[in-house]
Symmetry: C2
Subunit: 247 residues, 2 copies
């Protein structure tokens, strides 16, 4: 009996650690199933307004954003946008337009969010503006490719961003450094736009384009507020973004 | 040397089968990443019109529909719908309304699609109508719970389905058998609605409700054509459906 004690303890230890690791694996699987569903509800806009990534989903969001998921989702969305773009008959009068949002659409702020909790912290305008001024946001590769293809096809490209007019230089510099060029207009919030919901501000600016005779065929954005409202495009392309929500 | 031959063959066999199974695992992982992204683009409506599940994603869709994913996505979407519903002030005049689609919203046709290739076959109206006549489609549990909660909260519930008037009896019987009761009206396509895009037909019927004085707070549906158009609800709740697309 005294001899079998260590063996028994070892077996007990193995059994308990096995149970614990199985529980951890199960818990992690449950989190993944839930967080996948949370992301579904975010991306379909079922959630509506939300402020922070749920704490149980922060490491899920980190894995998604830094792993294959985000890259692949961006690529597949861009492929459907391009598929549609190729069906558009370009009149040649320069009025066939495509509208792009900027943040999380053409440029990625992942380096900023990686040091700000992957969406788990409330938005801090001051530190984000400092990041914008650095003009170091990398291009989302799938969007850059789409952008170039659209230019090749003959689309007139507008950028319509929630960033403010005082961020024009940093934004234009960042876009150029990352390979974007020959856009028709970069539209930013003027002082009269401050405080407007994004849906209203962006709809008003699209309406101005429509009134100028542009035919907005496509619109790419990571927020439903980029795509909804009035003067909407013929086809909208929602890009993934589980980091933040803009009403 | 002769002695080591069998050992060498065994090691070679293990090496090759290891490589093959690793390749199979990698391929299956690539498929999952792609099919996850395809589903993202389907659910955000980036794909637009589509006819069949891509062949490489059929087993992915089967796993999703029969595993935890679909159930969890339905539950989380329903939880956000309920969260919103609880914020609505019910006036008590019976005019606070919620609109539900039927197929893949209140009732699941998964038993039908399980024997029809999980969305990989073109839609066959004849066999689907036979299935509808059986009145055996199970409730989607999350929707049934939501339905009951909404009734408790005092909402007037409308069902607005793309099914035809001649399917009224089978549909009502099926809904009742599965636990749905006390709906205000079950609206089906009349002969004058045949051939109309779902978005138009459903918008027209919602407009009739609005003209009758109903305030449509919420709308639950698995298709964007359930939710878009005019006379839209205050908040829309997109349920998952990677099996088929209705324009």
């Amino acid at each position: 009996m005294a001899k079998s004690q260590p063996l028994f303890s070892l077996l007990l230890f193995i059994f308990i650690s096995g149970t614990i690791s199985q529980s951890i694996i199960q818990l992690s699987r449950d989190h993944d199933v839930y967080c996948n569903s949370w992301r579904f509800s975010v991306e379909t806009n079922d959630v509506g307004y939300w402020d922070q990534v749920p704490s149980r989903c922060v490491s899920y969001v980190q894995d998604y954003m830094t792993g294959d998921g985000y890259r692949s989702d961006s690529e597949v969305a861009a492929s459907y946008a391009l598929g549609f773009a190729k069906t558009v008959e370009i009149a040649g009068d320069g009025k066939d337009a495509w509208v792009f949002d900027v943040d999380e659409t053409l440029l990625s702020n992942l380096p900023y969010y990686a040091v700000h909790g992957f969406g788990s912290e409330s938005f801090d305008e001051l530190s984000f503006d400092e990041w914008v001024d650095l003009a170091e946001a990398p291009a989302i590769k799938a969007s850059l490719n789409l952008y170039k293809e659209l230019k090749q096809l003959g689309f007139t490209v507008f950028m319509l961003t929630g960033r403010s007019e005082h961020q024009r230089n940093a934004t234009a510099k960042n876009l150029q450094l990352e390979g974007y060029s020959d856009w028709e207009r970069l539209i930013l919030r003027e002082s009269s736009d401050q405080g407007k919901p994004a849906t209203l501000y962006k709809s008003q600016r699209r309406l101005e384009l429509v009134n100028e005779g542009y035919r907005i065929h496509g619109n790419s954005g990571d927020q439903w507020s980029d795509l909804y409202g009035f003067a909407v495009s013929e086809r909208s392309f929602k890009l993934p973004n589980p980091l933040y929500y803009i009403p």
